[in-house]
């Protein structure tokens, strides 16, 4: 009887501890939402206000008016969307060639892809910026898009996946006189949907959230994405208007959190999969 009681206590304690750990990771976001609905006065009181007396929805409008947020949002959508589409157009044929053809120089060329994946943008940003400036592109969205259209990591992942697709299927299609283009479109792509979804989600999350690259590649509000716009709220709003800064932050975070809540299983899988392979 005694051991039985102890077991219940242990289980309950385990749950409690898990809930506490969960709170450590979720709470800052809840606190962000709470702050975004408070008045300036409420943010300045100590002890802190847990729940605003009445939610100030106007904070969001105020945050939106602090900068050209519609432009920022549109830039984020265009940049992220273009990167994903172009990456796929370039990555699929390349991964197919690396997976299914033998040709001289293949090892060397594939080695370069792997090497490219090791060299971080934090090292090459200065020369890339100078190149973009030489080409007269710094006032456009292109410097945020074209450096990423050749996704080395994506090519690597997709090649691994393509290699698992049996040769016989491809040979059979060739006997039926299917062109290589048709084989890619009708066999390779449909059969590797999980890998493609993984790469797409991964790309979406990392480029939507990117801060460093747009920071070094843009110098006007017209081409800035949402991440930069929100970070700049701190400068325009001063360091004490936390309710407005948090309102802007909510605008940035909530879309991606919604995506996460709806496809958390796939996103988590995508990250873990691309981490392990």
């Amino acid at each position: 009887m005694k051991t039985f009681d102890l077991k219940i206590v242990w289980t309950a304690l385990g749950y409690l501890l898990k809930a506490a750990v969960l709170m450590i990771f979720i709470f800052p976001f809840l606190w962000m939402i709470s702050t975004s609905l408070q008045t300036f006065r409420e943010t300045m009181t100590f002890p802190p206000t847990w729940f605003p007396a009445s939610p100030k929805w106007g904070n969001f409008a105020e945050a939106m008016n602090a900068g050209p947020f519609l432009t920022y949002f549109r830039n984020s959508v265009v940049v992220t969307g273009s990167i994903i589409v172009l990456q796929f157009l370039i990555m699929i044929p390349a991964a197919y060639a690396f997976a299914k053809y033998k040709f001289p120089g293949k090892t060397l060329l594939f080695g370069m892809i792997l090497l490219a994946f090791m060299i971080p943008g934090q090292v090459t940003f200065i020369p890339v910026y100078l190149m973009m400036a030489d080409w007269g592109l710094v006032k456009t969205l292109l410097p945020q898009i074209i450096p990423f259209i050749s996704n080395a990591f994506g090519i690597f992942l997709l090649r691994q996946y393509f290699m698992q697709i049996p040769e016989e299927i491809i040979e059979a299609a060739r006997l039926d006189n299917a062109s290589e283009f048709k084989i890619i479109r009708k066999i390779m792509v449909p059969m590797s949907k999980p890998a493609l979804a993984t790469i797409a989600l991964f790309s979406f999350v990392s480029h939507w959230n990117d801060y460093f690259w747009p920071l070094v590649m843009t110098d006007s509000a017209a081409v800035r994405p949402l991440t930069l716009g929100i970070a700049m709220l701190r400068e325009t709003e001063g360091i004490s208007n936390w309710h407005i800064i948090m309102a802007g932050n909510v605008i940035l975070v909530v879309p991606i959190l919604l995506v996460y809540v709806f496809c958390s299983k796939h996103i988590v899988k995508a990250f873990v999969y691309s981490g392990i392979k």
Partner: protein, 292 residues
């Protein structure tokens, strides 16, 4: 017929051409360009006035205290983040390893910071760590601890940035370790149970060696990733106070307009450090890692 054979010969190259062009143009060429720039006193306004200075930028780097400060900060940051994240994620992963609804909810929850932009995370923590109205100091007060200056003091700023980075990273590495743990065949544990092995011994003799490839992977990825830290620093501290959080990338970023040659040389040094770290890891550790 001949035409067809020629086409088949060049076809692979045509298919990989756009990808290779992108990699050549935006990774390989810039690396060469970076090394080239590092040998110049570069004039941004008038390129023709740029002066070849050989290795001057590099000798300058070696003689400058602020470079060593940035290198030191980056090293402390890396060691702190890697050790804390690995220990905590291993602990949490072993703890949440059992399949179950609540466990997967907790796993998804601690992963949340990973899908959110560093900008948002930095801003939220900036607010939590605010010295006068911030929630953390309030909680400190509740449990009787003295308030901390967090990011405002050069003594605590780097630690505060490390805390945020660890908080953000734990979820991802926990999931990788959980996936590794779940791929261990249960029969190995059953055999150990027959031998009456203690829990600690099972963990040390079976679990740890079995997941060592993943731990090794995490070690490399985290070290390289930590050496590139920038976003958190830029949003939370701007490198301050008093250069207490200036990391290498922030240092490079700082000189990007005023002294391009020097900035490029520092970039070359960073690239060399990252390459060296990867090399050392593989040489030292790959022999000790147990591969299945």
């Amino acid at each position: 017929m001949d035409k067809k054979r020629i086409w088949e010969g060049i076809r692979p190259y045509v298919l990989i051409a756009p990808a290779m062009a992108g990699i050549m143009l935006f990774v390989m060429y810039p690396v060469g360009y970076l090394i080239y720039l590092s040998l110049f006193k570069y004039n941004l306004m008038n390129k023709d006035k740029s002066k070849f200075v050989g290795l001057d930028n590099f000798t300058q780097i070696l003689g400058r205290g602020d470079f060593y400060k940035a290198l030191w900060n980056t090293s402390i940051y890396t060691v702190g983040v890697v050790i804390l994240t690995m220990l905590l994620s291993l602990l949490i992963a072993v703890w949440l390893n059992k399949k179950g609804r609540f466990n997967s909810v907790v796993q998804a929850g601690i992963f949340t910071p990973h899908v959110v932009s560093i900008v948002s995370i930095s801003l939220v923590w900036l607010w939590l760590m605010e010295p006068n109205q911030g929630l953390l100091n309030y909680l400190f007060k509740l449990v009787g601890l003295p308030p901390s200056a967090w990011l405002q003091s050069s003594k605590t700023a780097l630690i505060s940035v490390i805390i945020v980075s660890v908080w953000q990273a734990i979820g991802y590495y926990t999931l990788i370790i959980v996936a590794a743990l779940q791929s261990i065949s249960p029969s190995i544990y059953e055999a150990a149970a027959l031998d009456n092995a203690s829990r600690f011994k099972v963990f040390y003799k079976i679990t740890l060696p079995m997941i060592s490839p993943q731990l090794f992977f995490i070690l490399i990825i985290m070290t390289i990733g930590s050496f590139k830290v920038f976003d958190t620093v830029q949003v939370m501290t701007g490198g301050g106070p008093n250069n207490a959080t200036t990391t290498l990338v922030y240092y490079i970023y700082g000189f990007r307009t005023t002294n391009i040659g020097y900035s490029a040389a520092t970039g070359v040094v960073l690239m060399a450090i990252i390459g060296l770290l990867t090399f050392i890891y593989f040489r030292l550790l790959s022999k000790k890692v147990h591969y299945q």
